[in-house]
Symmetry: C2
Subunit: 236 residues, 2 copies
Amino acid sequence: MIAVRALLFDTFGTVVDWRGGLISRLDEWGRSRGIAADWPKIVDAWRMAYPSSLRRVRTGERDWAVLDVLQRESLLKLALELGITQLDDPAVDEMVRMWHELPAWPDSVAGLHRLRTRYVIAPLSNGHVALLVRMAKTVGLPWDAIFGADVFRHYKPDPETYLGAAGLLGCQPHEVMLVASHPSDLDAAAKCGLRTCYVSRPLEYGAGRVIEATPEPRRFDLMVAGLDELASALAC
Amino acid sequence: MIAVRALLFDTFGTVVDWRGGLISRLDEWGRSRGIAADWPKIVDAWRMAYPSSLRRVRTGERDWAVLDVLQRESLLKLALELGITQLDDPAVDEMVRMWHELPAWPDSVAGLHRLRTRYVIAPLSNGHVALLVRMAKTVGLPWDAIFGADVFRHYKPDPETYLGAAGLLGCQPHEVMLVASHPSDLDAAAKCGLRTCYVSRPLEYGAGRVIEATPEPRRFDLMVAGLDELASALAC
């Protein structure tokens, strides 16, 4: 691992708890506005719409748009499907912005502080720069640089994202490690020549819900249970 | 000023002391390698080659290249002109890398820490991302994001840089202020609709040497003598 100079982090799920964070925010927010809804169901369905909305941009079926725009469209469609009629435009905007201020997993902030003493650390996210800056400032994520999808105008797993971030950091692909809780993201990074670290986040989709199976040993360069464990594995 | 949400900073001269930093590093480095040279003269001539090497990229006379490449070419040409024959390839590389680790002006780090409590702060530099990350980590500049010229593949004063950074921050141009010690940089930003803050750095080119005259009052939105004074002006 001595050749690795920079660590890139998937963000939603790997560094922050999007599901727990959104549900608790929406719960409180809905109560204050008199909007009753099955928030866990909405959050899960909203998240499930994410891959296909990114795919439409990646295939060129639609023009480039940042995540806020895609999340907004998904939510409006979902509200229609679920018969939720109380969401006016400002309410939808507020819900979309909740993705900017998600809580970190308990090990994330301390782990990143240790890791940045020896490595360049940056998010490589399908979120956009403005979203990631807002998240970093509210949660206290000590990034050295911010790589949102809008820097490359490509969404992961397009190779332009992994190779683009390595290039901007002045690194060869093998000098960069992607850290992510999603095997598909790591597989795409590995194809580009990056090193890979799988972080298990068993609560990402809710207790007991498994969306992607735990990868077999040795599929990735490292497998850890949190960013503090990664810091220890890298002697930080 | 209440509408400003983000502050962008020119870096060389505005945040860090390139001349004093380079001269003192070269002095020590030259002694340790037995290379005697008029370092102030070389540093000044090297810096003077900078605008024309950027202009060749900006006009399309040459393909895109990051600052390290341009600085290397300028230095080789200069060594030839000045008859300095002791600079082999590794020595030239070391000299180019000195631009990555320049000392901050005494008010910079403390001023930026205060400013980031209320604003998004980021460099907008003709340096590249890798250079700016290295500089931030060695000097302790607490940036929220890093905008190098390679993000836009344009050098200042091309409008793509000012408008590109504002766009990635999710801001309208008037919500962003450029902070710089160079009136020409600020004029170009103002043409794009950004707010402007002039920082006087009387020692940038060496004591008593004036390259650009102090701008007249009210040419820019703010005029300050340092980043601590800017923090006070913006009530941070």
